[in-house]
Symmetry: C2
Subunit: 149 residues, 2 copies
């Protein structure tokens, strides 16, 4: 299975990271990683907490702790969207996409553009190993544009 394989690879990345940093490989950390990588879309700490309560008992504190680790090893990214909670997203296994953010209503839409993608990916910086990127286009969405005419 493609998905199985890719999740196993992700798990290995995390394991390597934990070993390198001399952090412990706790079941909670893997449960959180697994949960994140088996769902789609953006999430915040509390959403994980609520969703996971059905299957696996973890405290919010542990979720925050694990989110920090996952950010540190780039398995998730932090988004700048407005709103009270910080939004995250997994970095691998997604169709690579960009975000359109409406400056008026805050709506976030995703799109994908091959040319933009390849231009960015082909950029190699001497002093920086880029593993992934986030692109946000800000503007006015269709709905808001029509509203204020």
């Amino acid at each position: 299975m493609r998905e199985e394989n890719s999740y196993e690879a992700i798990k290995d990345v995390f394991t390597e990271y934990l070993i390198k940093k001399e952090h412990r490989k706790t079941p909670e950390r893997y449960a959180i990683l697994e949960h994140i990588y088996h769902k789609e879309g953006h999430f915040d700490a509390e959403l994980l907490f609520k969703e996971m309560q059905h299957n696996y008992r973890v405290s919010l504190a542990t979720i925050y702790n694990t989110i920090d680790l996952l950010l540190d090893c780039s398995l998730i990214v932090k988004h700048p969207f407005a709103g009270s909670t910080t939004q995250y997203e997994k970095t691998f296994g997604n169709t690579i996409h960009h975000h359109l953010v409406c400056s008026k209503c805050g709506a976030v839409k995703e799109f994908s553009d091959k040319k933009i993608r390849s231009t960015i990916q082909s950029k190699h910086l001497a002093s920086f190993d880029a593993t992934h990127y986030s692109l946000y286009l800000y503007g006015i969405c269709k709905k808001c544009r029509n509203k204020n005419k």
Copy 2:
């Protein structure tokens, strides 16, 4: 003076926005806009508050209020960098640049790439009027790369 002209233009954008939205043109709002547009780099609400205390008395509440307005009319953007406070940046008057964010140490560096810039800018989306964009490349900076060898 080039700078004077461009700041005046920014001010006009803000004024138009305030009129359109039927918000009042208060001295505090213009003072905050002016302060932001006469400084370089990223900032958060408290930094503005501290810096402005020397010249102009504004409350933190008003700063937050004004930041919301400036976000709404796209004169500033919100950044997704890690850290306790939300970071903002003016959208005009900067050399257009992209951000390199080190996943390890959190350092943020700026760079500029003509090809990336023009590819993104030439993208026209039917249902979305894009006014500006933010690009973040995530990876490991030189310092951290050497450290963990």
